[in-house]
Structures are given as C-alpha cells and as structure tokens.
Symmetry: C2
Subunit: 215 residues, 2 copies
C-alpha cells in the first residue's frame, strides 16, 4: 500500500474530533473543512460548533454537555453510555456503522497524556481489529498504523518516527538511519526521510509518524 | 516502595526541562521554583531564562541556541553532539554524573507527539537501565515508572492509568477496575482511585499515570 503525504488538499471520508487539543494548524483545519462526514466526541461538539460548523453526529455519554445543548442537538446526538470503550472508539464504531472505513482522527492528542498515549495505541486496534484505514493528524504531523510492507510518501528532511507494535523484523528504505525491530518506543524516534518515498517492511504491526515540516 | 502524591510542596533534587510545552500548571511551576538543580535541554534554556531564572546547566548540541546566547552562558552550557541519545537522555546522563539519582522531568510532553511518546517510554529506561527514580510531571498529572510491588498515594476520584511494559501478571488494589497484564497501551487507561492508596504488583515494568484532579 502507498500512504500519501497529508496536505491541505486531502479530503477524508470521515473525520472524528476527539476531546484533546482542538486543531490550530492549517492542515488539520483544512481536512475538517473538506470532510464529508464529521463526528464529534462528546464535549468537543461544543468547540466545533463555536467554530461555526454543525457536526453530522455527536457521540458519547453526554457527560460534558449541558442539558440545553443536548436538547438543541438531539437529532444528531447519539448517547452511548457503555464503559468498555472510550469516546474515540464509540465514535469509530458509529462511523463504521455508517459505512465509513477510512477515518481521520483530529484533536486526539494534547491535554491528558494518558489519553494521548491510549488514543495513539488505539490506531493499531482500529487497523487490525476493525479494518479501518486510520490516520491521526495533529498540529505537528500524522500517525499512520500499518502492517507488512508499505510505501510512505515523504520529502527530503521530513522528520520520521516508527513505533514497533510486535514486529520481530522491521526494515526500512529511504530513511537516514536503518530501522530494526525496536524493543522500546523511543528507539524508533528521530529518523529522517532522505527522498520522496520511504518503505517499511515489518512482519507485524507498526505505527509511522511523519511531520508536516522538515527539521 | 511508596510513591507519594505530587503537590506544590514536593521538592525534587534535580529537574530537567525538555523541549516540549513549557509548564503552566501551578504544581510543575512550584517544583521548578523548589528544585535544587535545574538542567535545561538546549533551546528550552531560553524560555526558562525568560521566566526570570538561570539554570544550573544547559545540555544539548546547541542547535536551537544562538551564538550570542551560547557565548553569554558558556560557563553552564555543556555541548554534547553525539547522536545516539536524544536531549532528554543527554541531560539525564549529565545529572547522573553530578550524582543525582532522583530526577523530575518537566516540559517533556506537548509539541511533536513522536517526541512525547519517546520521552514517556524513556522513563522506563531511566528506571531500569540507569537506576534513576524518574517522575515526569505535566500540566495534567504525572507518570511514574515502577516494577514489582509498589504503593501509590492517591485520593478518591483521582484518574489513574497504568501502562504495561512487559509484565505477564499485573494486579491492582484500590482502583475502580482491576488491572491485568494488558497487551495494549489503551487497555490500562480510564481507571480511578477509590481511596488514598493504590497498590500495583507486576512481574515486570509498568508506568503509572495519576492526575492532579479528580474527574
């Protein structure tokens, strides 16, 4: 598979806005404008509406929304109170039920760092267990979960990190430093693209982070 | 071991300020005021000095500092250009060489999320390979790496997450939901303390996150 660079002209099928930091970078903001379907996790709907939009759906337990807000937006508010899944997964299941299999996650980092860590690792779950093509876009770059052999569009000087989630072999082409099956998350950070494509080949799952800018 | 709550009255031996988001919460700011030794990772020295302080040491490759700044602070600037370690690890080695074995990390999250992920996982390395008592304090809570059986001071309603780094058994007492040897990082999030102590017992390494506030 070839994973393209994410730029302002990327038009995602479905976007889920999570309860972390609301995006400020032009690229995630453009994705939000171009998205065919926008689903907000609970309280983040308030912020999205303050930015002048109406989401297609609001999913969550309603904990962080006022009664007035819930009444006003009852036609798009989908109350899901089960406690096995966090709001990001509830929203993902909702989008899947709508038939979306390619989902872009915004606002999924920032604020509580345990949520950030959990949300990032959920991308692997969404790819592997839900068969979703998931991309998490932040104000600095984007995470893409993958497995097997894949190409990732890049540009010279783009900062790259790869996080190993269970590979015992993990090869790269097109990076400044060759990768291997890292045991620790920090070992795959601080790499860099040398040209316009990187190839990773792992015998399991991994997560690639690419920055918007070169160093 | 008993890991206390971190409050404004905690006086860490050594504090390392990394290049993520500079702290804004009263607790990390108080730790910074009370620290006996403050070491800045490269460019963050600039921000720390703008806040009216002078660090005891600045460690890094100097990439993000002007020549003028480096000349002015040459007596405390320690240039380390090797590329095996990131700035956080360079600063940690420097503090260890000074005899500090208890280190509090600030500004180690925020900005690039691959750095955040790398820095969080480095806490496990500092504990296990460097025998450092490491704590990472953010604007929302704090991460403590641990292994074996430990008590963590808590309060009713405190939000808790635990991240498993290699345990095959991982038990808890004092949490709303019992833990087990989670396979995925997201599985240990969204837990809560029911009283003033939590006990975790794992046959390997794990990382505990506690929030400053209840939900």
């Amino acid at each position: 598979m070839i994973f393209p660079l994410i730029t302002e002209s990327y038009h995602p099928e479905a976007v889920i806005i999570a309860g972390g930091d609301y995006p400020t970078h032009p690229i995630p903001l453009a994705l939000l404008r171009h998205a065919k379907f926008v689903c907000c996790c609970d309280g983040t709907a308030q912020t999205y509406i303050e930015h002048g939009y109406i989401p297609h759906a609001i999913v969550g337990d309603g904990d962080s929304l006022t009664e007035e807000f819930k009444t006003k937006y009852q036609s798009i508010f989908h109350h899901i109170s089960e406690q096995e899944d966090n709001d990001l997964t509830k929203a993902t299941r909702y989008c899947m039920a709508k038939g979306y299999t390619s989902i872009c996650y915004l606002g999924a980092t920032g604020k509580r760092e345990d949520h950030t860590l959990g949300n990032i690792s959920l991308l692997i779950r969404y790819m592997h267990a839900f068969h979703i093509q998931a991309t998490m876009v932040t104000d600095h770059g984007y995470f893409t979960p993958a497995e097997g052999k894949n190409q990732f569009e890049s540009f010279r000087g783009q900062q790259i990190s790869i996080f190993n989630f269970g590979c015992t072999t993990l090869y790269s082409e097109g990076c400044k430093w060759n990768t291997y099956a890292f045991n620790e998350l920090w070992q795959g950070t601080l790499n860099e693209a040398i040209g316009d494509t990187i190839t990773f080949e792992g015998n399991g799952k991994y997560l690639v982070y690419r920055t918007f800018n070169s160093k």
